[in-house]
């Protein structure tokens, strides 16, 4: 007997509030600035900025501007198409911006992504990278198109 199947979809629009801290971060992106917060207790600079430090359990309201340069901590290049996710290949990494104590999840680019071993060599952990910005930033996380090796 053939089993009968029913197709179903979850396609429900939501609007997530970014809150005041992230909103300030997104407004600063329009001026090609990356902001973080400094924890008043442990002095860690947290990027992306958030309203409180979970280690010290205190509120963070001291703002710090960071350079749009840093070092690659780790990376991966995706070669398959996942439903609803970006078209492959795309390279994503964790970049520790100069002066920050946390890593920043970002696209890596500016080089050919076909051969993952070459990409891993170009962006190996410790590689210095710099942000490549959209010409006209709109205050979105995607205003930073990707980070490319500083040497390029």
């Amino acid at each position: 007997m053939e089993i009968v199947e029913f197709e179903s979809f979850w396609n429900i629009p939501y609007k997530h509030s970014a809150g005041k801290h992230a909103s300030k971060f997104f407004h600063a992106l329009k001026e090609k600035k990356i902001l973080g917060v400094k924890c008043p207790k442990c002095n860690r600079v947290l990027v992306p900025p958030r309203a409180f430090c979970e280690r010290c359990f205190v509120e963070c309201n001291d703002w710090v501007e960071l350079k749009d340069e840093g070092v690659v901590e780790t990376l991966s290049v995706t070669y398959v198409k996942f439903t609803g996710l970006p078209d492959p290949p795309y390279a994503v990494g964790v970049v520790k911006l100069d002066g920050a104590d946390t890593g920043f999840l970002a696209y890596l680019g500016g080089i050919d992504l076909k051969d993952w071993k070459k990409v891993h060599e170009k962006f190996k952990p410790g590689t210095r990278v710099k942000a490549v910005w959209k010409d006209r930033p709109e205050g979105k996380i995607t205003d930073i198109l990707y980070f490319k090796p500083v040497e390029l």
Partner: protein, 387 residues
Amino acid sequence: MRRVAIVGVGQTKFRTRREDKTHPELAFEAVKKTLEHSGLNINDIEAVVYGSMDPFDGIYRPELWDSTSSGIFKPHMKISTGGTTGLTTALAAYEHVASGLFDVVLAIAVQRVGECADAQSVLNTAVDPIYERHSGVGAIHVASFQATRYMHEFKATEEDIAWVSVKDHKNALKNPYAHIKMDVTVEDVLKSPVICSPLKLLECCPRSDGAAAAIFASEEVAKKIRDNPAWILGEVTISDNYYIGDRPNLAVWDSLALAGRRLYRAVGIDDPKKDIDVAELYSAFSIQEILELEALGFAKPGEGKDYAKNGITFPDGDIPTNPSGGVLCTNPIGASGLIRIIEASLQVMGEASNQVENARVALAHAWGGTLQFHTLFMVSSSKKFGR
């Protein structure tokens, strides 16, 4: 807290699609097998803890559909904590009994990842919607981040990591419930397509449909049910930072190391390498077993990469790891944690399909979120730890 044992376990067969059954029919299959294994009947079950993650299955609160498969008119609680769901479901069931509130409690976890077009699109919605979701990152990406960083810090090769996959696939061949059943060589693993670099297809878990269940009983009741129960020696669960970039070093799983130390201290384990006979770890991706072995004290930092290659983690090695074939070969995500403690229990009961010789103490582990949560359990053939 009262002493508690696992007195019955059961699993369905897992594959990508179990189109032969509906959600509650799969749950019923697992519960029926569990009752048969324990010799109990459904009226002996005093309360039910149910685990699943709704969006993989596209059903909001599948426990509404499935609850009848555990009988009716019973206390019923749902647990959903990411990849740890199955093991946290076990933890809640354990605490129901340990607290003295109930004597016999059923833990059941059901997941149909195969009915979803793509698990990674669901996993991406678990990532921070404000700063991180746009990056197209899901569970596989964070595991790839771990692999890249680990290879960099400890000079691990692709071949080292591929050996974990070879071992798990060989083990799954002996497990009647396992999803992926194929014998693979290191060359096969290395030649399989790169999904998220450096991880290849044969180093990544499948999407599985199926269910698993276990019955927890108080000491007095457990002794009457069977002469080889799996006694719970300890359990622990832990959270970590939220943002992926907040972890100081992705080559080291420090929250798991902390959870492991807490568990070992509670149980009285001095040297996990000597004191634990077998481990069922949540390694959805080959690299993760290596990080887990190091975090849990089975290997020094950088040493874990040599274990599978040198046979140490094979069933006849010094540290048998995932003799069931593990999550790498079977991943009904919300049920996978419960399967870890089921397989660990079968080992100390002496009833496992890929039995490790003289297994007396077994460790079960699950991780969830974007590497954010862990749950651990220690089970034993003895009521107390001691050599």
